[in-house]
């Protein structure tokens, strides 16, 4: 008897962009239940656009997106959250003038909040510093604390799939370690995660599988361990090759 893990997210042939500029060009990607899958690639490859397309902030021009057997192609973000997706966006997008606690309660906006106290306890357990800062405004937090708050806010929605967009960006190594330890713990608790990163080595160390994205399409996919061992150089080469042409 073989156990087939359930597919949580299935992206098929998705194209998306801004206006007439096509940025995502035919992406196929799957995430199975309990997996931590990473999407890596150089700056400008279209990783953030793909995440935004999955949650509905950007509308795909072609292709389909399924989430737990439900067709969520072009579903509005507020509905996608209700369906069980939560995004930790690039740049965190916190509610700066509002307190840590208010940010967290807003994270639970999409569902019945009668049990949000329990969820608050869970995220404070994951990131104790947030409890100390709970009545401070988000704008007054350090970069690392803000990133923790962004992750915690997403968790407040009790997602079935957590999407993270470069949670390590601009943070000190010690803080990055703390955040990735939290991701490991969430994964161990059974949460399914899709992680976008520019730091390929870091991401692959924590992931089960990885996709390498280059100028809007998937250039390479495989087990994280294979991608890491097999071809460090090639990964870096892919990144560098791309970064040269597109960075602006």
């Amino acid at each position: 008897m073989s156990y087939e893990p359930r597919i949580v997210l299935s992206v098929e042939g998705v194209h998306a962009g801004y206006g007439h500029v096509s940025v995502v060009r035919g992406i196929d990607l799957r995430v199975a239940e309990g997996e931590l899958v990473t999407l890596i690639g150089a700056n400008g490859a279209g990783k953030s656009t793909l995440l935004k397309t999955i949650v509905g902030l950007v509308s795909p021009t072609a292709g389909t997106i399924h989430f737990l057997e439900q067709d969520i192609t072009r579903m509005r973000p507020d509905r996608a959250v209700r369906a069980g997706l939560a995004l930790v966006p690039e740049g965190r997008m916190l509610f700066g003038p509002m307190t840590v606690e208010e940010n967290l309660e807003l994270g639970a906006h999409a569902r019945d909040r009668s049990d949000s106290a329990e969820d608050l306890k869970r995220v404070f357990d994951l990131f104790p510093v947030l409890q100390e800062r709970r009545s401070q405004t988000a704008a007054t937090l350090s970069g690392g604390e803000q990133q923790m708050l962004a992750v915690a806010r997403a968790l407040m929605a009790r997602p079935r799939l957590l999407l993270l967009d470069e949670p390590s960006l601009g943070l000190a190594p010690k803080v990055i370690k703390e955040i990735f330890a939290a991701l490991d713990r969430l994964k161990a608790e059974g949460l399914t995660i899709l992680l976008v990163e520019q730091d390929a080595r870091l991401a692959l160390k924590h992931a089960d599988r990885g996709y390498v994205m280059r100028t809007g399409s998937i250039a390479l996919a495989g087990n994280a361990a294979d991608l890491l061992a097999d071809d460090d150089v090639r990964l870096i080469y892919l990144g560098a090759w791309h970064g040269e042409g597109e960075s602006s």
């Binding site: 949650v55 509905g56 902030l57 509005r76 973000p77 507020d78 959250v81 209700r82 939560a86 995004l87 966006p89 965190r92 997008m93 916190l94 509610f95 700066g96 003038p97 509002m98 208010e102 309660e105 807003l106 994270g107 906006h109 999409a110 569902r111 909040r113 988000a138 704008a139 803000q146 806010r153 929605a157």
Partner: protein, 293 residues
């Protein structure tokens, strides 16, 4: 000028300032939800008065009920306006939306003229023509109504904004609409709610003032400019600031009448508007736009 006279001017400033505060709140709530100035805001003020007059004189309803009909139906018109005109512009392009509100303003005042005629329409004082003496200054009972209704409306709005989940969602939209959407807030619903509140608050102001000044199909734009100036003066997007801006503008007008001449009263709003835009674009209470993270 004696202390009593000064107090008399201060009370007049407070009365007018209350009206400006309600209209300014309308501007600020819609701006917070959409990033757009709603140039039809003054028409909600006009409709609040005109529809109350219609319900009172036309339908023969008792005054309190007529006032309720005026405010509630204007709020409903605000919602319909949002659904039919604002929401249809799917990309939310601010310039297009502003032009839509200008057009909407013209449509609303033309319709009012068509339905209710070009004449000024009166409404009786809410509780007779009495007045009380405050340290020698005369305070009309209708003025107490105006200030009291404004105070209650502001208190209710404060509670909604700061103590309820809906209010928290509205504030979240004001900070960052995309962030609001990814935590599950239906931002289009928040825009509708903002129009409902803006129209209701504007209508309340129009209702409260009509017994003193009468109303007509064309009173919207003047009050609209003043409410806009008040909202800018306080700091656009922040309800407390709108109230402060309204009261300060009312007082400035009173001061100008007291010390210069009533000729310039209506120009004060424009002077304030320009001065704020040049000197302190974020308004009295506004923080420069860097608090987003």
């Amino acid at each position: 000028m004696g202390a009593t006279e000064l107090l008399q001017f201060a009370l007049a400033g407070l009365k007018n300032g209350s009206i400006y505060a309600l209209v300014a709140l309308g501007f600020t709530l819609v701006y917070a939800a959409t990033g757009v100035i709603n140039f039809a805001q003054g028409e909600f003020y006009m409709l609040g008065g005109m529809l109350s007059v219609w319900a009172y004189a036309g339908l023969g309803l008792p005054l309190p009920l007529a006032g309720l009909v005026g405010v509630v139906s204007t709020a409903a018109i605000g919602v319909i306006f949002e659904l039919l005109a604002i929401r249809q512009r799917k990309d939310g392009d601010p310039l297009a939306l502003i032009i839509i509100t200008v057009g909407g303003s013209m449509v609303l005042s033309s319709m009012a003229r068509h339905l209710f005629g070009p004449n000024e329409r009166p409404l009786p004082l809410f509780s007779g023509g009495g007045s009380v003496s405050v340290f020698g200054a005369v305070l009309e009972v209708q003025t107490i109504w105006i200030i009291g209704m404004t105070a209650i409306a502001v208190a209710c709005l404060w509670y909604l904004y700061n103590r309820t989940g809906l209010g928290r969602a509205m504030r979240a939209c004001a900070v960052n609409r995309d962030a609001a959407r990814i935590v599950g807030i239906d931002t289009r619903l928040m825009v509708t709610v903002s129009f409902l509140l803006a129209a209701g608050l504007g209508a309340l102001a129009g209702l409260a003032v009509t017994p003193l000044t009468q109303t007509a199909f064309d009173v919207g734009p003047t009050v609209g400019i003043k409410g806009f100036a008040a909202a800018i003066l306080g700091g656009l997007g922040n309800p407390i600031a709108a109230v402060v801006g309204g009261l300060v503008l009312g007082m400035l007008e009173s001061v100008s009448i007291a010390f210069i001449s009533s000729t310039y009263k209506d120009a004060i709003a424009l002077v304030v508007l320009l001065a704020v835009l040049f000197v302190r674009p974020q308004g009295l209470l506004g923080r420069s736009r860097r608090e987003k993270v």
